[in-house]
Symmetry: C2
Subunit: 195 residues, 2 copies
Amino acid sequence: MARKTGSHSEITGPRVRAAAQRLFARDGFAAVSMRQIAAEVGVQAGALYLYTPDKQALLFDLLKAHMDDVLSHWAAEPKGGGPQDALEAFVRFHIRFSLTRAEAVFLSYMELRNLTPEHFARIEALRRAYEDQLEAILAEGQVAGVFAVPDTKLATMAIIAMLTGVNTWYREGGRLSRGRVEQIYQDMVRRAVRA
Amino acid sequence: MARKTGSHSEITGPRVRAAAQRLFARDGFAAVSMRQIAAEVGVQAGALYLYTPDKQALLFDLLKAHMDDVLSHWAAEPKGGGPQDALEAFVRFHIRFSLTRAEAVFLSYMELRNLTPEHFARIEALRRAYEDQLEAILAEGQVAGVFAVPDTKLATMAIIAMLTGVNTWYREGGRLSRGRVEQIYQDMVRRAVRA
């Protein structure tokens, strides 16, 4: 007996996403076929189309789910009282969250160019919403006189690039613990922006 | 009459590289065929093999040429007397050089995963040689007592990631001139590391 589409989606959705993310991250979006994703999940290619209309929709889903995750987790993060505490919280959060979702972060940077213009615009808007969270902290500290930043937008982009860079070199069990890395980056960021 | 391989290579080499870089940057290494590169250059696919043994060799050539370029241009850059001047020179150089070679920089980050392990190791060694240049400046400033950096390796990675990030958002003719962007980043970096 054929399963209903609904229940089928519920069962395979997370597995389809996980398989697509793994293959896209390993081989690149362009090189991966729907057939390969289906094989990785262990279903027929036809079954995949019950879950997603096409590979583009799958990529957009992955990138959107990641940004939604970033935004909701940051919203739930304790931030302390003032802008200095909030900045420390942001640095710690961004490094920790990025390292625990390294594959999703990698994909988010690598495959932006493969989104359709409409999908790209939606992901960009979510990224901007996240950047705005940091910029608001910097602007608040500026008003309070605790930060001296010549341009809050540039400082935002500089800090996020610096923090995301950790993903390119950090290895668990390496020379420095994650906590120590977070401390060192907090120290550099604090000094870069303080009044 | 058939041309000699040597003279043929001299004629088409730069055009092959330019075409490959353009196509790899636009569509990704995996999605581009030797046939497409040949068509872009305006030669038969067979002629391409007079210049390069395969697509992998072409990718390695592009990434290696870029790193050789970075290193030789940095070596030729005026650096002033002490570590503070050298750090300002490095920030200005890295932003300016990266923005003028945006396609090569993009490719260098995007296609590392498509290098063979042996090619990857050679490119990594060149990247490390470049990172070592900045780390030496930080270490010198540390000894001289003008910088206070808890970990020169981490500061190196943080600064390079921050500077390369400019490529993702900077647009010529945008809100800020390149000179102004360089100044703002110099200011942030100087403050992040000073004693």
